[in-house]
């Protein structure tokens, strides 16, 4: 296959932000995740958990609450006191509105989806009406003494429960007055703590209120009488989050010790109708605080300070015990944060608020497989660019994706509203050449762009509509690749042949010939035969595709745990062949090697792999981000005794 020199880069100092909130939308099977830096990500759980949308954060916006309302509308609220609605088509913020109650700690949409409730620092609970275009303030509920940290609607929409410090209030929505105030014990294992913070409440349809608090308790209250029914002490630290399933037969809580507990409503004895809440399963998938949990019909979802999004399917709810039933741990974004200048051997790293430019080192030595070569020149950190808003044309304010042409004369910008702009780059300035308007009726932003090396073709893809190919010379739409059910995760156009290679989130790969406007023969063959089952079972999407400059038959692609060179000239593997070639053959004769060879040449040596590309025909660059390095930069977790009791 070939021998490569690999620049193994580990200096990309990327640390994902901790997860603050998750909100699950049952209707579309999507999950919204907000991080401590204000970033909001949308995961499509039906499309192999692909992170299909992304709203960058801002230092001034710390999200504290996130919720879906009216079906597909997404709202967030945060410590700057504003409620924000996101435009999920254009991928920008639709509007933000000050609630005038100080920092907002909690938010909940009514069961009907027409009303929004926020809990503020000043102790007020504010009710907003959700109108088609905006939200409108309706009224305040009785003000409480301290900040409202958690809110939950009764499924009928008539009452709400609000968790504050040391007490839980139950409000009547009609009158806005507190009908019950339930005081929570500050005692913790016999020691009186300063305050007991109610981190989460959940209101069940039978009138039970479940609260979780900083003293490590999960408590059940009767909202009709305002009395404590039952207490479960689950942790020595705070219990920070709670989520109840739609059927109200199970719920999940997350603790500051990184443990997630599953509670289920089970019969006391078999056949009896009397049921009680029982703590059934503990899960320890996190090392740090579990700040937020969600409960989808089939899975428990948790996230927290350790930045992992964990999706744990409930085995009893999963019908088919296939690979979908496996635990998912999503740590890295499903998009490319690194770009590479092949000629100049430069790497550009994208952080949330700055960019880093590095020059790769070099070596003159040679070696055999597995050797580490002595460096003649080390890598250099060249630039650290902080965000700075300078004067830009109005239509360029919100670029979703930018791309330079191979010869660096043109810049392609995918803006929101689905339009694509082309600029000619001149010395120190630029000139707007053309704008491809969105297809009639769609306002979906294009998230992925690819340009052919000869600069003639531009491919652009949104999250749901297919891939559009534009002719850059003639400035018109050339064709649209037939739509496919799963979102596109990576795009690239091969040199010379102008074949467009598309990777989808279900791990399928298509090759589409742009000049012929049809799928290539190879693509048809592999679709007919099907991919190897191990290939389809990978759980991270392909984030980058590139090509070998000299070997047109080779496609290089990678996900977070492997990179692969597909040699289209070799036979395809079937389910019986070994997909991952484990070790270099030592004594095998060439015949056997040729017989077992198949098109997928895979290496799992570099992981987690954030970027991989060919610098030249014999050189690769691989950017790794070891998890230990990320953990080392997180705050220390709660110390737990390792020895004895």
């Amino acid at each position: 296959m070939g021998e490569f020199k690999v620049h193994r880069v580990r200096f990309f100092n990327y640390v994902p932000s901790g997860i603050r909130c998750v909100a699950y939308n049952n209707q579309s099977n999507r999950l919204a995740v907000s991080r401590t830096d204000g970033t909001v990500e949308i995961y499509n759980l039906s499309a192999n958990y692909f992170q299909e949308k992304f709203f960058p954060g801002h230092e001034s916006r710390a999200t504290e609450a996130l919720c879906w309302a009216k079906g597909q509308r997404l709202f967030s609220a945060g410590l700057n006191g504003e409620i924000i609605e996101y435009d999920l088509q254009a991928l920008n913020i639709k509007y933000s509105m000050d609630a005038f109650g100080g920092p907002i700690w909690s938010m909940a949409a009514s069961p009907s989806g027409s009303q929004l409730l926020v809990g503020c620092e000043d102790g007020s609970v504010k009710l907003f009406q959700i109108n088609p275009d905006k939200i409108q303030f309706e009224r305040n509920f009785d003000r409480q003494k301290s900040r409202i940290l958690s809110l939950s609607w009764h499924p009928s929409g008539t009452h709400i429960a609000a968790g504050s410090i040391d007490c839980i209030s139950v409000f009547d929505v009609k009158s806005g007055s507190a009908i019950h105030k339930m005081h929570v014990d500050r005692q913790y294992m016999g020691v009186s703590k300063r305050k007991c913070i109610i981190w989460g409440v959940a209101f069940l349809s039978d009138g039970t209120v479940i609260s979780v608090d900083s003293a490590g308790k999960v408590q059940f209250w009767d909202s009709a009488t305002g009395t404590l029914v039952k207490t479960h002490l689950v942790a020595n630290a705070d219990v920070q989050s709670i989520a109840v399933s739609d059927q109200e037969d199970s719920f999940v809580v997350g603790t500051a010790e990184g443990t997630v507990f599953h509670f289920q409503l089970v019969s006391v004895t078999s056949n009896s109708s009397e049921k009680q809440w029982v703590r059934t399963k503990p899960f320890q998938h996190h090392t740090h605080d579990v700040r937020t949990v969600a409960h989808s019909p089939t899975a428990l979802i948790s996230g927290g300070t350790d930045t992992h999004l964990v999706i744990r399917p409930l085995m009893e709810k999963v019908e088919v015990k296939n690979y979908d039933a496996a635990l998912r741990k999503i740590t890295f974004p499903h998009r490319r944060l690194i770009s590479c200048s092949k000629k100049r051997q430069l790497l550009l790293f994208q952080f949330s608020h700055h960019l880093d430019l590095w020059r790769l080192g070099s070596t003159v030595a040679t070696g055999k497989h597995g050797d580490t070569l002595p460096l003649s020149k080390d890598a250099d950190h060249l630039l650290h660019l902080k965000t700075k808003v300078s004067k830009m044309p109005a239509f360029l304010r919100s670029a979703v994706q930018i791309l330079f042409s191979e010869d660096s004369t043109k810049l392609f910008v995918a803006s929101n509203q689905g339009s694509l702009h082309i600029f000619r780059l001149l010395e120190g300035s630029f000139k707007h050449l053309h704008t491809f308007q969105a297809q009639s009726g769609t306002v979906e932003s294009m998230c992925l762009l690819a340009v052919s090396p000869d600069g003639n073709w531009l491919a652009a893809s949104g999250t749901s509509a297919g891939v559009h190919v534009y002719n850059v010379k003639r400035l018109k739409l050339h064709c649209t690749v037939p739509a496919y059910n799963f979102p596109v995760t990576a795009l690239a156009i091969a040199p010379k042949t102008n074949n467009l290679v598309i990777a989808h989130s279900d791990q399928q790969i298509f090759e589409y010939s742009i000049p012929d406007k049809q799928y290539t023969e190879w693509s048809r063959t592999i679709q007919k035969q099907g991919f190897h089952y191990l290939w389809l079972q990978r759980d991270t999407p392909i984030t980058h595709i590139s090509f070998h400059p000299k070997r047109p038959m080779h496609i290089l692609l990678h996900d977070a745990y492997m990179f692969c060179i597909i040699d289209k000239s070799l036979p395809l593997p079937n389910d019986k062949t070994l997909l991952y070639n484990p070790l270099p053959p030592t004594n095998e004769s060439d015949v056997i090697r040729r017989r077992t060879a198949h098109a997928f040449k895979i290496s799992k040596r570099y992981k987690p792999l954030l970027f991989m590309d060919l610098l030249d025909e014999r050189t690769l660059v691989a950017v790794e981000r070891p998890l230990d390095d990320i953990i080392a930069q997180l705050p220390p977790p709660i110390k737990k005794k390792k020895f004895g009791t």
Binding site: F4, R10, S270, L373, S603, K641, F643
Partner: protein
Amino acid sequence: MAALEEEFTLSGVPLGTGPDGLLGVEQCDKTDQFLITDSGRTVILYKVSDQKPLGSWSVKQGQVITCPAVCNFQTGEYIVVHDSKVLRLWTNEDVNLDKVFKATLSAEVYRILSIPGTEPLVLFKEGAVRGLEALLAEPQQKIETVISDEEVIKWTKFFMVFRHPALIFITEKHGNYFAYVQKFNSSVVSKYTLLLGQEEKSVIQSFTASLCRKFISLMSLSSDGCIYESLIPIHPSDPENNQLQRVVRSLLLKTVVSGNARNALSVLDQDHVAVLGPPLPASKECLSIWNTKFQTLQISKELPQGTSGQLWYYGEHLFMLHGKILTVIPYKCEMSSLAGALGKLKHGQDPGTQTMPHFVNWEASQGLGSQNSEPSKRILRRRKIEASVQPEVPASQQLLSTIKKDSEKHIEIELRKFLAIKRTPDFHTVIGDIVIGLLGRCKTEPSFYPRNSLMQLVQMHVLSYSLCPGLMEVALEKTDVEMLQLCLQQFPDIPEAVTCACLKMFLSDAVQEEKMEEQTGILQNGFNPEEDNCDNCDKELSEKPQNTIEETTSCPVIPKRAALLNAVLHSAYSETFLLPHLKDIPAQHITLFLQYLYFLYLKCSESATMTLPGIHPPTLNQIMDWICLLLDANFTVVVMIPEAKSLLLSLYKFVKSQICICSELNKIEVSFRELQKLNQEKNNRELYSIEVLELF
């Protein structure tokens, strides 16, 4: 678990109970209210939860109530018959029975039967049945005779079968019993003869019946104290052919009461029956709840003042006369959840051994029987007689007959032949039958003990304690410790009492002696204690004490005993059930066992992994659990024994030092982590490198 709750009495009005007790207790249309008819002239309506009467009615002096009062669930009226032929209907508002509606019938009434959802039926002494409405419309109508002369109705019950009423009544004539089943949608009477089987001479004392799909399961308590079950089809196979059909009785429970007294039986649910009567001829009367499925006594309550031998069961209440007082005992049977019943499971499987089926498939073994038997018959649950039921399994049948007669040697050969045959799905039950067959002969012939055959069967990995309940008892009797060890290793479901009995034997001197005498014999039997995995550690360890003077490091027991004790340590148990039995073990044996456990604990702590060497050694948790259990059960005894004192002291010191170590480890954990961090940094120092990679 079935449970009897605290009893309470219904008093207020003195009951005129005759020598035969009450006439009847019947349900009312309102829950919690019951009509009690005494054998004299009075009917009392009780509210049971309040324990007080709501009303009381009497017939005139000179008249006698002959049939217990019932409630018409459709109208709410009460109905009673006095002087055999006079029917009275009244309601709550009526005060005097003399002034209520009266109908004089042309024939003598045996009983009025009323259940919710249908009109009451009147059963005449001659066996004819009429609906109440039809009878009231024409009270003097002619009543035909259904049963023959000298035939007397003994018992009757009224059911709803798929929304159609069905009546069963039992008659007796010269010691023969007949069952009549009448359905009112087809008004066909089917007559069956109850075949009493071998117990010809017994008299049936009490009947009860329940519906069991397409059959009426008729249970009868005979004077021999056994409960029998007969299945009577509700839908006769050939309604046209009205010939006398026969119903076989099968034994359900053996000798639950002593037969001489007046006993009563009532079915509670599909698996439970209540039996009233003295369990032993001399003892006082008891109310006992039996599980018929597992043939176990669930609970029993002594009734010292005697009963009238009558028992009624409605809803959740059992009614009986205790002395002269009507007593109500609430009964509850909760299906216990498995999780609650589970104790500690076996620690894990030997990697080499084949996994054995832990649970017997009840469906499979029951289905096996019903395939071969006719629907109206029901085979006994005891597998002993299965030989006659299963003609198409000649191999096992042959073997069973061999077992009954032949010599040990021959049985062994036959067994080996049988085991070589391919396994059938019911293999484990067949093996169970064979073992039970062997044990049955052991009991009758004290000299017969087919040790090799039994060993071979146990080693099939398919047996469990419940499949061959007598095996371990016989082995205990014969002090066959190797057999016990094998059973402890193989059976997943040994009762704690038996485990404890084994432990007792292993700790006793029997083990020591046997070793001296039968050393060669043991080897011949394929059991070599030297080879036993658990002994490896002991052997290895026993080399040490020669050069060390300290006593604690030498094993306090001989290797063989150690291997046996290890088998006990591995067995499954539930603390609550084990503790009471542990208290029965003599103090010096407890001390010895503690010494051994302490020795194991020390050995465990010596290795970094906290495990013992060997293939299947006891785990640290098992050792600690047993130390705690022993001390829990016998602390007060052990603390008084001078030789145990030093042991307890050293155990205490050792545990204390372990706690110290743990707390010290906690203290230096931070330093460990820093070291680890340094180590990591060293590995990840290289942020950039150029490597060579070859793809194949």
